[in-house]
Amino acid sequence: MKIRVAPDLCCGAQRCSEVAGDVYKIVDGFNSLVGATEDYVVPQGLENSARRGARACPESAIKIIEDES
């Protein structure tokens, strides 16, 4: 599973890190993946946490890219 954060949507609500701090970090008020040049690979076992954080985002700025099976 990978994560992509749309840089123009992240508004610094910080809900992702509040509900899923094991996946999402905040830097200078915004999701640390804002501006990342590559998709973030979610460590195994944290998939549900990643989804929970994405759902909590008021801007739907976090895109979850599921592995193809």
Partner: protein, 430 residues
Amino acid sequence: MSSYAAILRDEDPRIAQIFNVEAETLSSGSTVIEDPFPGLNRLREAAPVHKGTVGELLGYPIEKGGMFHLPGHLTYSAFSFDAVSRALIENKTFSSEGYDVFPSNARLSGTILHKIGTDHRRIRDPIQPLFSPDAAQTWWNDKIIQETVEVLISGIEGKGGADIFVEFCARMPVHVVSAGFGIPPEEIIPFRLALIGANEHDASPSEREACQERSAEILTRVIEARRKKPENDIISKLVEAEITLDDDTTRPFTNEEIISNCRLILLAGGGTTWRQLGITLFALLNNPDQFETLKADRSLIPNVVLESARWHATDLIFPRRVEQDVTLEGVDIPAGALLHMCLGSANRDPKRWNNPDKFDISRPVQRGVAFGGGPHSCLGQHVSRQEMVVALNAMMDRLPNLRWDTSKPPARLVGGLFQRGPSALPVVFG
């Protein structure tokens, strides 16, 4: 045709009375001002943060108080993008509980607007999904926005000319949000009048209280009906929603919580989008070359909506209360002071945007603060943006060669520092 569409076909003289930017500004206790941006630019160039309210610093007479102005209370104002963005994001230091100090806002106390931290999250989390981008583009769009725009544009397209600010912009959002929530069609305008009346600056306390009770009555009837038999509307969803408490147990919203938050969301939803859509059309009509570019490439519409909000958001200021001594962009602010966050100035910060005073739909989109930011980022912004996208598409499809009616007095952008919009939008087409 739904009963909501039917009521929208009738002309309603109350619309022009309710939706009048200058009258609205005066009734909120503010002074009507023309272009505030030269003054805001001067202030931001002098310093990112100043001591004083935005109105005082601009030199406007605020004899009646004005929105978010508390005479005698130490107030600072933030003008740069960085200062405003930080204040929006650090909500525990720059607290939304500051709204409680304004008598004009006391009636919205207990809502998501005023809460911070866990208390805020607990209430906002169950509401958030009902206003997500996906909900806006599917549920809201399919259930009510498309139908509302179709009925309104059908009523205008054969006329050759209209004041589309009153006949379209004013009618669309109040109808969309009211229908979405499940306010009965015949109650939409009485409910709006009650919401506005409860905040009327010059009304007596008993008059305001009567309005407050009237809006509670209308909402209570809907809530009780939906508790018995849910429908496909927002109040039904709120009745079914669960709040998660500290110990991870859940409980439903109380009637009081639903009523207070419905008042807030419906007041804002029916009040901001009509002015912002008006500002967007004002800017396009004044820039016919850009309007033509847009007609040739409809994929630019979402950008146009954001550019209009950047260029001139209807609400230029929002307040916070500083909870602990803090240094904001080099300026020391003591605990207890109020802070005016000037979104209008931040959105024209030349450190972030080139030639920021120009309305320019070709500008690369980057995050602005027109819809705020941080935990209190505008709840309804995606619904609002979808309304504007559908409305602009319909106008380009159905009102060909849309242009100013030069036989009428030129439209101006008016209002206070809050609730700004056009004086009118007299247009001809065809």
